[in-house]
Amino acid sequence: MKALAPVVANLARVAGVVVAMVVGATDGLIVETSTVMGMAPGDADPRKPTAALAAYLYTKVIRASDAARLGTPAFMRLEAERGHIFVVGARDIVFVTIVTTDANLGRVRLEMMNAAKDHS
């Protein structure tokens, strides 16, 4: 398996990515993370809860996809008022990014899919 720090750094460099993380698929704990873009001192750090809940949600998406007989999900995008959460699974880990609304979503998706492919 390739080192995870460069992958996170690479994802975090994509325009519009607020934070990129590698998270344990079953425990939801952060394995590797970038800094949070634009986070002011005193702001609540979104990484730990986002990582835990996104990984948890992804396990449910896997079950939903399986129940619908669609096979393994390739990519999960949660669209919210002020941005997106992207999740891609790669065996024991999931890649999680928080992305702004004006980001190049296709580019972020491609980078994440490539990262997942390299770690599967």
């Binding site: 425990d27 939801g28 835990a52 809940l53 948890y56």
Partner: protein, 160 residues
Amino acid sequence: MSDPTVAEQWVSGPLTRLKDDARLISGVLLYPSGRAVGQFGFSNAADVMSICALTSAINASARELGRQLDGKPFYEMHHAGAQRQVFMARASAGAQEFLFVGVFDRESSFGVVEIYFAEFQKALEKLHPQKVVAGAGPSGDFEGELNRSLDALFGPIGKR
């Protein structure tokens, strides 16, 4: 899943939220002395009694182990079994300290439990009554304290 039974009413709300949000199978909130404050997922007082005694002992051992190894006490423990996992942690409210032990399975995750436990801790801090609960600290009568708290949770022996 049953609602928590509590010896002190103010912990009922936070315990219910923790159980539901973190999708815990069972859990016990207790004082470090081993006296139970609330529980969910158990129907047998003897099980809660064992868990309180063990959690109290494990907490004391972990603290000392932490001091020896890391210069500061260990406050949180996680054991992942094949099917179920145990999460044990300290919560404080004002000057009062509590211990919590919870069991979860693949319907939850350690990360999720940690997140909601942090919220639970904040809720305890907010709701904790200002007056000190009588007998919360160790009195030396470990068995008596344990039995009194179990009576509060499950009713007196003979009526359970």
